[in-house]
């Protein structure tokens, strides 16, 4: 509740006419940006908890009556995706992307994910491989990206039938990674 209230208060502040039009002083603009950033980051904790409750619930109902605790994931937001930066996709050979559709009807979206390599597979929640396309990040964008991030490519795929106010998750894996070589793609026994 405290996270949501911080965001509520921030959005209240952002209704000021100077915030709307950009006629605030520079230091005030920076403070607005900081408040928004803190608010979004705080609320990301709420969305993570909700997504974990939803995914555990569906797992529980489908397989066992015991609630599972090994499916708690860290659903991270990447606020710099607008400049083709995302630490999770840039530094992990395997990751999942969950898309939550805020609209009240089914929708689809071409998704672009920054990645460091050019060979990936994407599978949907039914285990079907998706058509993907890999493109190099434009030179002009590479110039302005955070130097510590490694994505030289963007992975594109078409996420379809995202349910109204619901979510769909995709699994993304780098092919020929060292992890794959050590760990063949078979179903291991659960421990």
């Amino acid at each position: 509740e405290a996270h949501l209230t911080f965001m509520r208060e921030t959005l209240g502040i952002m209704q000021h006419h100077d915030a709307i039009t950009g006629t605030e002083k520079q230091k005030v603009a920076l403070d607005y940006a900081k408040r928004m950033s803190v608010g979004v980051r705080a609320c990301a904790t709420n969305t993570r908890n909700v997504l974990n409750q939803l995914s555990v619930k569906s797992e529980t109902s489908s397989r066992t009556s015991e609630p599972r605790t090994d499916y708690i994931f860290d659903f991270k937001i990447c606020p710099l995706l607008n400049i083709t930066s995302c630490p999770v996709s840039e530094s992990n050979d395997r990751f999942a992307l969950t898309l939550y559709n805020p609209l009240a009807h089914f929708t689809d979206e071409y998704v672009r994910v920054p990645v460091p390599h050019y060979d990936y597979k994407v599978i949907d929640n039914n285990g079907a491989a998706m058509d993907i396309q890999i493109l190099p990040v434009p030179h002009s964008v590479m110039k302005i990206k955070n130097k510590s991030l490694k994505a030289e490519y963007e992975l594109v795929f078409f996420a379809t039938n995202l349910p109204p106010m619901g979510y769909r998750t995709y699994y993304i894996e780098k092919l020929n990674s060292s992890e794959n070589l050590c760990r063949p793609n078979v179903s291991p026994k659960k421990t």
Binding site: T21, G22, T23, K25, Q26, A29, T47, L51, F73, D74, F75, K76, I77, C78, L81, I83, C86, V88, S89, N92, D93, R94, F95, A96, L97, T98, L99, Y100, N101, P102, L103, T107, E109, Y110, V111, K121, I123, N125, G127, D131, I132, Q133, L135, P138, H139, S140, V141, I144, V156, F157, F158, A159, L162, Y171, E173, E179, R183, N185, S187, P188
Partner: protein
């Protein structure tokens, strides 16, 4: 050495040998349509005189309506794939753009990257993108009101008084929160924005939108600072998207272009929220 074309079954975009957008085919129509970046010089006024203020945070006021082209030749790279086709344009060292058409979409996406705007010449600059078509819009264009109804605008006119404009550029600029459009009896062109911008149609068939500005003087309306944002001493870089729609102005097989714009608008303004999870401990079958 010849026209470069990207597109799909719904829309095709042609680029001339200089690298500029030159023609668009969509909805059974082909028309010469160009797109370019230009900038206005910000006015440097005497702020003690009310009618001679500088361009600043509150007011857009170009110096003698002077407009400058940023490039006459554009370097391009072309990427064609199954899902998306892209033309990447470099206009100069501080303006570049990716024009893309996705496989199933009936519109094109223009992703622009502008900045840091150079001010070594002590001139503030206000950068615009301009789409020019042959649509005979007769001085009329439409801008939205916060994504709700579209409001009819007439160049050099106001609804309730006789207007004499001393500043024909800024006097015809209107707020664009999500959409600007124009049409004639045959064709329609609309641009959706990803953020609020200023826009206008200063010639029939042309739409312009301001994408970035860097100014060196305060306009004396209260903020007390020039609109000169810097990051580590450099001007800011802005990146954003315009979604370009073109087609017949009437209905086509029961679905109007306006309806397509509305549907796309929802998806663009309320896109899916993206959450990333590290899956180091799970292979795909375990994940399933």
């Amino acid at each position: 050495s010849s026209l470069t074309v990207i597109g799909n079954e719904h829309i095709k975009l042609g680029f001339d040998t200089n690298g500029f957008l030159s023609e668009v085919t969509a909805d059974g129509l082909t028309q010469i349509i160009s797109q370019e970046f230009l900038y206005y010089e910000g006015a440097k006024g005497n702020n003690e005189e009310f009618l001679n203020r500088s361009s600043g945070a509150y007011i857009f006021r170009p110096n003698q309506n002077k407009i400058h082209f940023v490039a006459t030749q554009v370097e391009i790279e072309v990427y064609r794939g199954e899902l998306v086709q892209e033309v990447r344009q470099k206009f100069n060292d501080w303006i570049s753009q990716v024009v893309r058409v996705y496989r199933t979409r009936s519109y094109a996406e223009f992703e622009w990257l502008v900045g840091p705007i150079p001010v070594d010449d002590n001139v503030g600059k206000e950068v615009i993108t301009r789409f020019t078509s042959g649509i005979e819009s007769a001085g009329t264009f439409y801008t939205d009101s916060n994504g709700r109804e579209m409001i009819k605008r007439r160049r050099n006119q106001r609804d309730t008084w006789n207007l004499k404009l001393n500043e024909e550029v800024s006097g015809n600029y209107y707020p664009v929160t999500t959409k600007i459009a124009l049409e004639d009896g045959t064709a329609r062109m609309a641009i959706l924005t990803d953020r609020a911008q200023g826009g206008s149609s200063l010639q029939d068939g042309a739409i312009e939108l301001m994408v970035h500005r860097r100014l060196l003087h305060d306009d004396a309306f209260g903020v007390g600072e020039a609109l000169n944002e810097t990051e580590h001493g450099e001007g800011l870089i802005a990146r954003g998207k315009h979604f370009f729609f073109f087609g017949q102005s009437g209905n086509r097989s029961g679905v109007s272009l306006k309806a397509s714009e509305r549907i796309a608008q929802l998806g663009k303004l309320l896109p899916a929220w993206k959450f990333f999870s590290n899956m180091k401990s799970y292979n795909s079958e375990e994940w399933l």
